[in-house]
């Protein structure tokens, strides 16, 4: 990733401060969500799997959770994220 990006926390909309913003929302509700996110991205950046493979797994997990009632998924987005990561690592035998 490029390091030249200027950090502008004042206008970044994905911070975790619950300030009311015109079109911003909280991205992470809980710290484990933030860390599960970072694990997947970091492993992909290090080439342990292709980002596409993770996305495919995420599509399956999100679809699975929405199968019953899309408006009331059986688990939250980052729970699906975590499950996808666990499944992919298992598939790749990276945890054994």
């Amino acid at each position: 990733m490029s390091k030249e990006r200027s950090a502008r926390p004042d206008v970044a909309e994905m911070g975790d401060t619950p300030l009311p913003r015109k079109s911003g929302e909280l991205v992470f509700h809980d710290d484990w969500e933030r860390r599960a996110f970072a694990l997947a991205v970091s492993l992909a950046e290090r080439g342990l799997f292709e980002w596409k493979e993770f996305q495919q797994q995420l599509i399956e997990s999100v679809g699975e959770a929405e199968r019953g009632d899309p408006q009331h998924p059986s688990r939250s987005y980052y729970e699906s994220w975590l499950m996808s990561l666990e499944r992919l690592l298992k598939k790749k035998r990276l945890l054994g």
Binding site: M1, S2, R5, S6, A7, R8, P9, V11, A12, E13, M14, G15, D16, P18, P20, R21, K22, S23, G24, E25, L26, V27, H29, D30, W32, R34, R35, A36, F37, A38, L39, V41, S42, L43, A44, E45, R46, L48, W51, K52, Q55, Q56, L58, I59, V62, G63, E66, P70, Q71, H72, P73, S76, Y77, E79, L82, L85, E86, L89, L94, L95
Partner: protein, 218 residues
């Protein structure tokens, strides 16, 4: 932190998102925290991730990537016709000229709004989104409600975001995927001929680059 406050200033009238707030119990959260701890420790022990790299990565994604980057791309395209041409021909390359790129920023396509065409972006399958220029997606973008309704009734959904379109304006819905990620180039608002590039960038917000709103005139 209260996520409920956020529901109030949310511009569209769709039912509150199931993903919009955490409805998990403390116990469930504890269980998930332990699951992540375990996974993280195991990956660190195997040397597959490093703690400081993870912290750095979170820092970048929470503070350095975001709509302020996309806004710079849009403002440049408004003031520099050559840049705009390059952006519409090879978005990934033109965005990289401004120093933005990386994971989920590959294979970018920029679609231009005109007086006769309005573009809006969705990812019907999950939540594909151009991270380097928009940051992480807002909760509503990940909802089943937005993902299905924007395809079936784009004008209705746009109205809920406060975007009323005349009947003679064509609405195009673009489905982002792992292969292609779309960014909307909004129309430059009237009365901004003498406005500087930096001031223009400050007027462009995330929703306008997803295409659910327009950039309002000064």
């Amino acid at each position: 932190m209260s996520d409920h406050e956020h529901d109030h200033d949310h511009p569209h009238g769709a039912p509150p998102s199931p993903y919009h707030r955490s409805e998990r119990t403390g116990d469930r959260n504890k269980e998930l925290t332990e699951r992540v701890n375990k996974l993280e420790s195991l990956l660190i022990a195997k040397g597959l991730v490093a703690k400081d790299a993870l912290d750095k990565l979170i820092e970048i994604y929470e503070h350095d990537l975001g709509p302020m980057n996309g806004a710079k791309v849009v403002a440049r395209a408004w003031v520099d016709p050559d840049y705009k041409r390059r952006l519409l021909e090879d978005a990934t390359g033109a965005i990289a000229e401004l120093g933005f790129g990386g994971l989920q920023g590959e294979h970018m396509v920029v679609v231009e709004n005109t007086p006769k065409t309005h573009n809006v972006v969705v990812c019907t399958l999950c939540s594909c989104y151009p991270w380097p220029v928009l940051g992480l997606p807002p909760a509503w973008y990940k909802d089943a409600a937005y993902r299905s309704r924007i395809v079936i009734d784009p004008r209705g959904v746009l109205r809920e975001f406060g975007t009323a379109l005349d009947d003679d304006i064509e609405v195009r819905v673009w489905d982002s995927s792992a292969e292609v990620r779309y960014l909307v180039l909004p129309e430059r608002p009237a009365g901004t001929d003498h406005v500087s590039e930096a001031e223009l960038a400050a007027r462009v917000d995330r929703d306008a680059m997803i295409g659910v709103t327009r950039v309002s005139p000064p």
